[in-house]
């Protein structure tokens, strides 16, 4: 029957631990991965444009542009209506003018 361990023995079990070594040719593998990454420019660009922060920024931009256009459209429509009324008013006045008078020199 073996002796039971204490927690101190377990906590101290790493005393004198030696360093583990990675597999050989680590640099070769890292270098190969870096070269592969550089070749994948398209993938990198795709990865960037699909990032949530970029997508959110684009959506905000679209909403802002839409909002600006809609605001300007309503202002434009208002101006158009006013212009229409002005033209209509002018037209109404001009109906009382003798058309021959239009051809007279000022």
């Amino acid at each position: 029957m073996g002796t039971r361990l204490t927690s101190e023995e377990i906590i101290n079990s790493l005393d004198g631990i030696q360093r583990a070594e990675p597999s050989p040719f680590l640099y070769t593998r890292v270098h190969a991965r870096l070269l592969k990454k550089q070749d994948n420019v398209f993938l990198t660009a795709f990865a960037f444009i699909t990032r949530p922060a970029f997508v959110m920024a684009m959506l905000m931009l679209i909403l802002l542009v839409n909002g600006y256009i809609m605001f300007n459209r309503s202002t434009f429509q208002q101006n158009q209506e006013e212009m229409g009324q002005t033209i209509a008013a002018e037209y109404g006045r001009q109906n009382t003018i003798n058309p021959y008078e239009l051809n007279e020199a000022p």
Partner: protein
């Protein structure tokens, strides 16, 4: 090559300097990452990730600390990110039966045996590594850097960007938590 020269050449994208960095720091990175991941296969992959990250972000290194201190920080951060990603995948994996995917039984990972531990201590170390996984992140970092990497409290404080007293406190709490966990899960003589 002095450290200043190495940093300068790394920032210039010098391949020879980068090779020198990998060859002189690979043991540091691998052992740190292995302490967190407790899997040689994962540690091999993440070690490569660490050096790629270093290559890509060396321009962010301001030289306020030693290069090795910064390398340790990148190694710790990358290892923890890997663990969090793995936990997220595991959480998603629990949902996959709902979607009618293959219901293969998940494999129980075997106990971790650190290759650098003496034969006499292998079983004890295996129990300890299991308990380390249950520690809060900061306590894990302090314990692994001090006990597995053999760094001084001062070095650990610099890597964690905290004070010496904070590291002492973290290690004290880590050991208490480890004792509690080990007592609960093992038939100890206490």
């Amino acid at each position: 090559m002095t450290e200043q020269e190495l940093i300068y050449r790394l920032k210039e994208g010098d391949g020879i300097a980068f090779k020198h960095l990998v060859e002189t720091r690979q043991s540091l990175v691998f052992n740190t990452v292995l302490g967190f991941l407790q899997s040689q296969e994962d540690a091999e992959d993440v070690t490569q990730d660490v050096f790629i990250k270093i290559f890509e972000s060396i321009h962010q290194f301001k030289g306020e600390s030693a290069l090795s201190t910064w390398v340790y920080r990148v190694a710790v951060t990358t290892a923890l990110e890997f663990i969090r990603r793995k936990k997220r995948k595991k959480r998603y994996g629990l949902l996959s039966p709902l979607f009618g995917e293959d219901n293969e039984p998940t494999l129980e990972l075997p106990d971790f045996h650190h290759p650098g531990v003496k034969l006499d201590n292998k079983e004890k170390a295996s129990m300890l590594f299991k308990a380390i996984k249950e520690l809060p992140e900061n306590q894990q970092i302090a314990f692994i850097l001090n006990k597995v990497e053999g760094l001084s409290y001062q070095d650990v404080a610099e890597i964690m960007k905290t004070s010496l007293s904070a590291v002492e406190s973290l290690l004290h709490r880590a050991k208490n938590n480890l004792r509690e966990f080990l007592k609960k899960t093992n038939n100890l003589n206490e």
